[in-house]
Amino acid sequence: MSQGNHDQFRLGFLTAVEDAERGFVGGLLITNRFGRPLEFQCTAPVKPNRTQQILYGPTLKPYVLGELIGRTLLEKVGVKPHLVLVESADLLDLRNATSTAVAALAPLPTGKSPKADNRQLEKSSPNVIPFGGEEIEFHHSHGEDRNEIEKLAKLVPIDADLREPFERIREALVETIRLSMARPA
């Protein structure tokens, strides 16, 4: 049988770490439905200049993480994901810059484990869909994503930990920064 991992359902996880001196370093991890890595792409540090800081104000972070980092990584990645998960709804605007569905994990209710009572949570937004053990939100102006995400949701095991891959990316990004700093200039 020639069908390999790359032919299966692929999930993207996008996040970034911020280094005080160097700026944001973003990472996109593509996994199969079991969380096994298929491809990883990360950026060199992106540091907004003073003008950008002033002019973008509170939208700076979503701009850098979404439009600059997220879009670049999605263009670059060879194993294209069916869905990209982000940790914050701020980044959903990335959807406007890509044809791939983007969804944000619903914030954790304080004091509760990720899966606790999630099923009972009232849907706070019509754009929220149960996914694995979590709830995810898609971009309000991309209603067409609902069908696609609902279809994909059937492929994700109910006990899949959708927050764990973000930890892996952060660890890999920190390692990348550490190695690049250790390398002689």
Binding site: M1, S2, Q3, G4, N5, H6, D7, Q8, F9, G26, L29, T31, R33, F34, G35, R36, P37, L38, E39, F40, Q41, C42, T43, A44, V46, T51, Q52, L55, E67, L68, I69, T72, L73, K76, V77, G78, V79, H82, K151, L152, K154, L155, P157, D159, A160, D161, E164, P165, R168, I169, E171, A172, E175, T176, L179
Partner: protein, 667 residues
Amino acid sequence: MIKDDPIAEITPSSEVTRKSTGSPSNHGLRGPHWSPLREGDARELGSHTHDSLDELLSDVQVTSIPLAVRIEILQSGLNVALHRWPKIEIEPLHLPKSPSLMPHWKPTRQKVLTFGLQFPEGASLLAKQAEDEKKKAGPRAEVPDDGPPKIEIMPDYQPPTVASLVDGLTEQKPKQVTRIKPPDDALAIEDRLFYLLQPPLQSWLAGQEMIMPFEPFPYQYEGIGWLFAKSSALLADEMGLGKTMQTITAIRLLVRSGQARRVLLVCPKPLLPNWQREFRTWAEELPFVVVEGDGERRKLTWTMPGVPVLICNYESLVRDFAAFGEGEFPKFDLIVLDEAQRIKNRTSRTAVTARALPRRRSWALTGTPIENRPEELGALYEFLEVVPPNATPDLRQLQSLAKQFILRRTKNLVMKDMPPRLDRDAYLELLPAQKSAYDMAEKEGVIQLNELGDSISVQHVFELVLRLKQITNFDPLTGESAKLDRLEADMEEIAASGGKAILFSQWTKVIDWLAKPMEKYGALVYHGGVPTKQREPILARFKEDPDAHILLMSYGTGAVGLNLQFAGYVFLFDRWWNPAIEDQAINRAHRIGCKSQVIVTRFISKDTIEERIDRVLTEKRELFAAILGEGDDTNVSLSMNAAEIFGLFDLKARHGKGVRSISPKQS
């Protein structure tokens, strides 16, 4: 030329050549410090308050102050010898009349540099029940044909918890996550990220992707992760901690993650069925082939494509490797040597062959990395390719390499909750016929040895020891045996309670002799004389047949690799030279999964060679425990050396009229 006027002349070109008086004026204009008015400014100023610049300037009052030094010096600050008049240039300043626009700023998409790595495609192996699972899965698994492949819903399998395996553990444990760490020698960023981005082992193994028959213990997860990330590794866990399972699972992960496509596992011949069984248990989806049959068939097996795991024994490996031409032997991504102490003698054919095998990763498994001498560890390091050929690392280097390449856990450290092992030494008086046979043999033997004088060797002493040990088992003439009497008494009780026991002896002859009196307890015989194909069914019968209460085994065949944790009793009918081997034997029963305590009975005949051997071994064990600590009491040289074997008898050779002690010859 010196003028009194502060400003001599202002020309349209704004260039004035003048010398100031250096006198401060009432308007603040003073000597060399005034700022020259530019033409435009002056004009503007004049237009507000004065009619003309001349008028303005005429208002300036100048008062001369006599100075003590020559004016030239004050003016220039330079050496007076230069005698050069300062030049003052005046440039017009064009003040803006109206605000102008700053340069436009338009957001442009910054170019972001990226770095990426793709992961090797893992082997695509179908779980055996994949089809059944799909049927069972129901509508949740139904995905349109044009969509991504169907999810394989795992069967309703609930892996047993640690608590259910080992009594006395509480069910609720915090969720443990074992991440694979990059190996120390992985320096390239791609290599380090490969490991860092792997999911936690628990999510690989907890039914999401791989079915595990039992939930591994936390230390086993650690071991699996450690092996997975190592290209050179010696897993030296104490017997019974699951080296087999950890190795198979790590191989499984390597194959599934595309890190290995061809793996060779080499083990002693008696363990072949055991490894096959374990592979079926722990990696049901992983195809394996055993290298066996005639030469042609074996050669075909070695080169067979598409087989992820090959299993062979040491003997066929050595034979078949020699049969291939140089450079023709197939390459492997990983070679695992089980019971790796087999290559402890680095000049042996087995060791030379093992080192010559073409491979990318080398793992060695052994519960006793050092049986006698630290150099044995050096031979293993050489196979692992962490020391140069023929290197003789000193103790400090061995220790430092051990930290990097050896993982060793003892039961004391990791299995605090395992049911205890109760050791009881049964000191038995020889029966009368045994006693007289023993005394006579000893007396004659010692006389013979003494007569040998300086030509005596360890071998001579050894032969006597063996003869005496055999008599302590039973009298060859009458068949009297104190040990058998005691064994029968114990077995009656064990059989009555439905228990099972394993008995170990050094001699197959003793085992065969015991088979008859033990027949009433359903005795089964398992030793080197039993054909390999018949061995597996014997073990299966011992496990399943409620009437089979005792398994008679030889140390050589039964001491390693077998899982007999359902047996609650172990008898050591006679003693082995090395307690490490005895421990291996005992650990067939006292290992993971055993639900109740294991009672170990060592038969020791009083006032015989057995008692003396026991004393020497006990003293050595205590000594090493005192030096190295209680945590690791088998990783040391425990077997008896030549001097100790000689010391079992008070051997003296005639020396002129007197005698002198005989000591072992140095070979």
